[in-house]
């Protein structure tokens, strides 16, 4: 049997946890510093920014206008029920908003951070009671459902709260990514390190932005996430989002092949590693795999420069979604890199031994998690 030609396979490097920790503590970028990486990261984040803009608008629309609608069949139309829009929806000439919902479900299910804690609080329960009381007064279907399933509407409100919070998070991230692309075009950014720093600054600037959510029922405003809950962008939404979508994710049939009876999926969901940083860029034949949906959406908004480069590599248009996914993972490592850099307990150049020990422990915990992720994409390669 002939030996397999070496040029048919490419194995990216797999840095150890110690190497990753050293890079994080040294303030270096995880992604290799190359001009091509800069182009891939900036352009793919630009397309991601465009997609997130639409996702954000839709999630906020769903949370506000489709609130407590048990059969929201028009929820992807953003309130535009024109025949042209419905036709485009039916022939699937649209973004895959299902991916946004998948991320919302992941956040909702993994439930980490301050937002999830607030959703289980008495204050939230009181808000829900008021909202349900008003809503069931005019809606006979909900009036019937609520006594039969007392937790159902409250759970729907929890879900809507997560939806709105994610919409607000993506609003900020979309603007940040589009600003990043503009800055790079203006010549303000010329290295991967500068990109990571730009993202870090953006995240730090938005860190304390309040997260609130209210709905209007019969002309009266009700708070679901009131400002006095003190929920903020970074701690209560961004960090849970990274945990749920970048790291943990959910094991989809098609994304991974697993046998639940053989305990191949951990019963402890905190140890899940099915998030975006762990995703296999090669689709393994399942239909409707969420990451593939996102790649398809980004493909619709791909900047010309990146598209032209993709056309010159490997199969050109034929495997463009795989290449988008590889570039996307590179960019997500930059975002994670920026988030870690922005959340170190102390400045990296702090000479205090305790501060250094705390930073080391923080970097080590991240490095341990990232060492089993798709770090092979961090090396330069021609996709």
């Amino acid at each position: 049997m002939p030996i397999i030609s070496a040029d048919l396979t490419h194995a990216g490097g797999m840095p150890t946890a110690a190497e990753l920790e050293a890079k994080l503590l040294a303030g270096q970028t995880l992604l290799a510093e190359t001009p091509n990486h800069l182009m891939q990261v900036v352009d793919v984040l630009e397309s991601y920014g465009e997609v997130l803009d639409a996702y954000s608008k839709n999630l906020i629309y769903q949370a506000e206008k489709q609130f407590l609608n048990p059969l929201p069949i028009f929820r992807y139309l953003d309130g535009d029920l024109s025949p042209a829009k419905i036709w485009r929806h039916l022939i699937h000439d649209r973004l895959n908003f299902e991916y946004a919902e998948y991320c919302q479900k992941a956040m909702f299910w993994h439930g980490t951070g301050g937002l999830d804690a607030y959703l289980d609080s008495d204050a939230f329960a009181a808000n829900c009671a008021a909202i349900i009381g008003r809503k069931t007064r005019r809606d006979p279907m909900l009036a019937l459902l609520h006594p039969l399933f007392p937790n159902f509407l409250q759970e729907l409100i929890r879900s809507a709260a997560t939806t709105h919070a994610l919409g607000q998070f993506w609003r900020v991230m979309s603007d940040l990514f589009l600003d990043l692309a503009r800055a790079e075009k203006d010549g303000q950014l010329s290295t991967v390190a500068a990109v990571v720093d730009f993202l870090r600054q953006g995240l730090v600037a938005a860190a304390a932005e309040p997260i609130s959510y209210g709905v209007e029922l019969a002309g009266e405003r009700f708070w679901v996430l009131p400002p006095e809950a003190g929920l903020t962008f970074l701690a209560d939404v961004a960090v849970p989002y990274v945990e749920a979508v970048f790291l943990r994710g959910m094991p989809f049939l098609g994304t991974v092949s697993f046998n639940a009876q053989a305990q191949q999926i951990s019963p402890d969901q905190s140890t899940f590693t099915y998030g975006a940083l762990f995703a296999d860029p090669l689709p393994s034949m399942g239909a409707g795999i969420p990451p593939s949906l996102l790649m398809q959406d980004m493909y619709r908004h791909l900047p010309k420069r990146l598209h032209q480069w993709y056309l010159q590599t490997s199969r050109g248009e034929g495997d463009v979604r795989v290449k988008i996914c590889l570039s996307f993972q590179k960019s997500m490592f930059c975002v994670t890199n920026a988030a870690i850099a922005g959340t170190f307990p102390f400045q990296l150049d702090n000479p205090d031994a305790d501060a250094q020990a705390a930073n080391r422990a923080y970097a080590a915990s991240w490095a341990a998690r990232l060492s089993s992720s798709r770090t092979d994409c961090l090396d330069p390669c021609d996709l």
Binding site: I3, D7, L8, H10
Partner: protein, 508 residues
Amino acid sequence: MLSILLIIPFFGATLLLLWPGLPAPGRMRVVAIVVLLLQLAWSLRVLFAFDSSDGGMQLQESLVWVSSIGLDYKLGIDGLSLPLVLMNAALTLVSIVCTRDISQRPRIYFSLLLLISGAVNGVFLAGNLLLFFFFYELELVPLWLLISIWGGAQRAYAATKFLIFTAVSGVLILGAFLGLALFTGTVDFSITPVLSEKLAMGQQLLLLGALLIGFGIKIPLVPFHTWLPDAHTQASTPVSVLLAGVLLKMGTYGLLRFCLGMFPEAWVLIAPWLAGWAAVSVLYGSLAAIAQRDMKRMVAYSSVGHMGYILLAAAAATPLSLLGAVFQMISHGLISALLFLLVGVVYRKTGTRDLEVLRGLLNPERGLPFIGTLMILGVMASAGLPGMAGFISEFLVFRGSLEAFPLATLLCMVGSGLTAVYFLLLVNRAFFGRMAITPPGDPVADARLDIRLAAVAPRETITATALAITVIAIGLFPAWLGRISETASTTMAGLPALLAALQNSGVS
């Protein structure tokens, strides 16, 4: 009219050999394709001139050649040989179209392919035993050269093995033909049934035994099959297509035309043993296929199994089973050609055919999704799923043979089920799962391997697509093929002597 079917390929081969200068390989390929298109067109003309209601030889041509030794130039065609002539033209065309990047001696390569096509036509059209033998031997050396020059790393071994086996086959067949002349005391080598009044049963059995082993090697039947997997493994894809699609059919054609057609009395006597032999061949071929890890060897062993169905059908010798035998020859020719084409593409793109190495080639973006789709279709057809050619042929064979030899037929049905087993193993291992072309080692590291296979261009799939469409067309509309062969198979099964023998032996 039939002579044109010999003149076109032989003239084409000569033309290529004598072509002045050093023409580019691409131009030679085009010339060969044009010649084969002409051959296919003329074969279709013969089809339109053919009267399907007549079960005997038609469009006969006769010319006295070397009458002192009984070698006359006699050609004829009937419902048994016409489909094979059509398939020969089509599959030779396929094998030349799928020949790419031939840099080594292209002139000889294309000439040899045309020469083989002409010789195979001669085999199927010959109306004289010696003329049949002449063409039967004529294809031997070109095929040996095609394997030994354009084959794989072990080509010398495989080609020599093929040559030795097939030469022995030729010697046995010639010996039987000469023995016939010796026992009957005439030099009449025309193809007519030999009856008891001419030869004693012992003599008939002796001659029939020699022919059975001779054609059994060519078909091949267990235990004479060992040359086939080696030849296929080392042969290039176009040669494998020809070998499986057309050349093996010379053996099954000989089985029906000469063994059953000329020795019907002796045939009835040994038919139960032949049915048992068929079952052994089918089961052995299928079980051996399951054990293979080389995709090409697996397809080759599947041929050994599927050829056994034809022996079963011939042993039963009912009109339905013989019609099934014709269908099986055609469907096996098309399906195995399709499978070899697809395995060839996989090998060209990945550099391996090892089922322990290949994984997930159906990957939609970076794998070979269309090739995988056709492969699934091909294995479904081979396993006899309804709607495709394999189902029609297997159903006819089993239905026609069940009453005559129930046990052997049931065992062959098990073999049909085993086809699904080994081909599902093939598809599951090579095409499903996470894409990889490396032996499984470290699961984490392997899951990160980026595989870079060249995309399959649409032109590389034209031939396989055409074959797949034909396989489905025959499965959905079997009547057009049945119409050509039905009368001939009924005539063959209804040979008066055979009928009498059947009645005497109490088999209905």
